[in-house]
Symmetry: C2
Subunit: 281 residues, 2 copies
DNA sequence: TCTGTGAGTTCTGTTAAACGGAACATAGAT
DNA sequence: ATCTATGTTCCGTTTAACAGAACTCACAGA
């Protein structure tokens, strides 16, 4: 009796058999997203995912049928479907945070001319949920919408980490060491940054994550002190020297105060907790 | 022998059996996205999708395992996962369009102070791919990123429709009649708007789609005349009267000329065709 | 404190949706 | 014109997903 060889079975490459359908869709969409600009052909997907030609073909057609992917017949290339936008626009607005913070971001970007970010805590990571580029000609976009960073990497994520209690900080440092490896910031540096952040009341990362770019961020705290989000601003290092630095920190703090007032009004305690810990897993 | 009743089997409710896994994921993610602000509980998903408790449970856990959904344990609510952002940011940049058009949008929003949109043609619809809000205090956001409109509804979509040949326009009007039903614009109105758009060289929708808001748009054409995208600006009706109106149209036209020059350089003929017709289905 | 209700989770046997491989078709390159 | 690589269709097999039932848990009202 011929048995299916278990060796390089694509299913095991993904998940071990559980949630295969989600696993494969995630896998394929990931490939589409990674090559979104020029699209991918069937065999590209096979190569990158290890799926059989048949499986990839069927899956891609299914995705296209539901507009999760777009297919161009002439070039026979697949793209991430625009339908994803609809999902994403909802995702950013969890608990209406984006709706409430949006005007603040715009005001800050407008006043200082630099790029302003809204980051949300998601487990031990920070996700960039919105970004408003300012008018200043030198664009210093440190993050794009959707980018993830371990807590502690970048001013917004550092602001959130610093707002957590020491035991939690220690746990996060321990669990996330591997994820921070690609950033040239040692745990020692990080601890000293946290101390500095706590003492000065805002997080400043001056060229450490991206050369030449400085970012400054403050956390949005619930009344129990839990950080759920952060607003940060990035610019060139010379535009973030002391006098202006303090001015920016104060402006962000003022905006955050307004948001957090509005935010807590529409929030029950359980909802708040939900936001903080959403998907700690 | 007890047979599974075929009657209201959820699988048939979705697709008829083909691509069930994609169908259900699409279905569930759609529900999550529709209730993104407050999240949904397991039974909400069951109710809204018709899925069995078990199926919904398994699927949601699978989605959460891959971070396509986020689950909050305390409130036991599911949310659209932030991972979707990663996919979406790729989606907007098909063929690098967003990268090339981004600076133009920012310049326009900056100069006029109003909201500026980038729309892409996707089959017989237009999708809003990017939006830059201007500094003017009255915000007139006619679209959000990810919104879809039938071609012809809204200035950008009207600009693209008007750039198509008459036979194509007729086909789109015929096929899409139902989708336009919710907008108070008759086909007769639409034909006259198309004529007007063609003669004046830009599309203007003055309060017809949203009361009090006027939008003005121009298409981005390939050298063979096919419209692939549009840039539009929305503001209050009184801010879009004749002298300013012409100024805005000229400014958008100039930006589009720049984009399309850059765009065609990086585009082979087949790629261009791909973009135009992506997912006509 | 007890009890009833509704939500969420786990278990189990069954089934059909998805599977891989092979054959077939098509397009591009040489 | 031939060859190679890519894309599509077919088909018998199988395993991942299925529905239902039983279970736990939390909470509300008596």
């Amino acid at each position: 009796m011929r048995r299916t060889k278990p060796e390089t079975s694509p299913r095991s490459a993904v998940d071990g058999g559980l949630h295969q359908s989600v696993a494969r869709i995630d896998l394929v969409m990931g490939v589409l997203a990674a090559n979104a600009e020029h699209g991918v052909r069937l065999m590209d997907v096979c190569r990158e995912t290890g799926l059989s030609k048949t499986a990839a073909h069927r899956l891609l057609h299914g995705l296209a049928a539901y507009r999760l992917a777009d297919f161009d017949e002439r070039s026979s290339r697949y793209f991430v479907g625009y339908k994803i936008f609809g999902w994403a626009s909802g995702a950013g607005n969890r608990f209406g945070l984006l709706r409430m913070a949006g005007p603040s971001l715009a005001r800050l970007a407008d006043r200082f001319g630099d790029a302003v970010y809204l980051l949300v805590r998601n487990g031990d990571e920070a996700v960039c949920v919105e970004l408003v580029a300012g008018a200043f000609p030198i664009k210093t976009l440190a993050l794009r919408v959707g980018d993830r960073r371990p807590l502690g990497i970048g001013a917004g994520a550092l602001a959130m980490l610093s707002a957590l209690s020491d035991p939690v900080v220690e746990r996060i440092l321990k669990d996330g060491a591997k994820n921070r490896a690609s950033f040239a910031i040692s745990d020692l540096d990080l601890r000293s940054l946290i101390r500095k952040t706590r003492s000065q009341g805002y997080a400043l990362v001056d060229g450490a994550v991206i050369r030449g770019i400085a970012t400054l961020g403050l956390p949005l705290l619930l009344d129990d002190g839990a950080p759920i989000a952060a607003i940060s601003l990035s610019t060139t290092q010379d535009r973030l020297r002391p006098p202006r630095r303090q001015e920016i920190a104060d402006a962000i703090r003022a905006e955050i105060a307004g948001i957090s007032r509005e935010f807590e009004l529409g929030l029950t305690a359980s909802n708040a907790a939900a936001l903080v810990r959403s998907s700690v897993g």
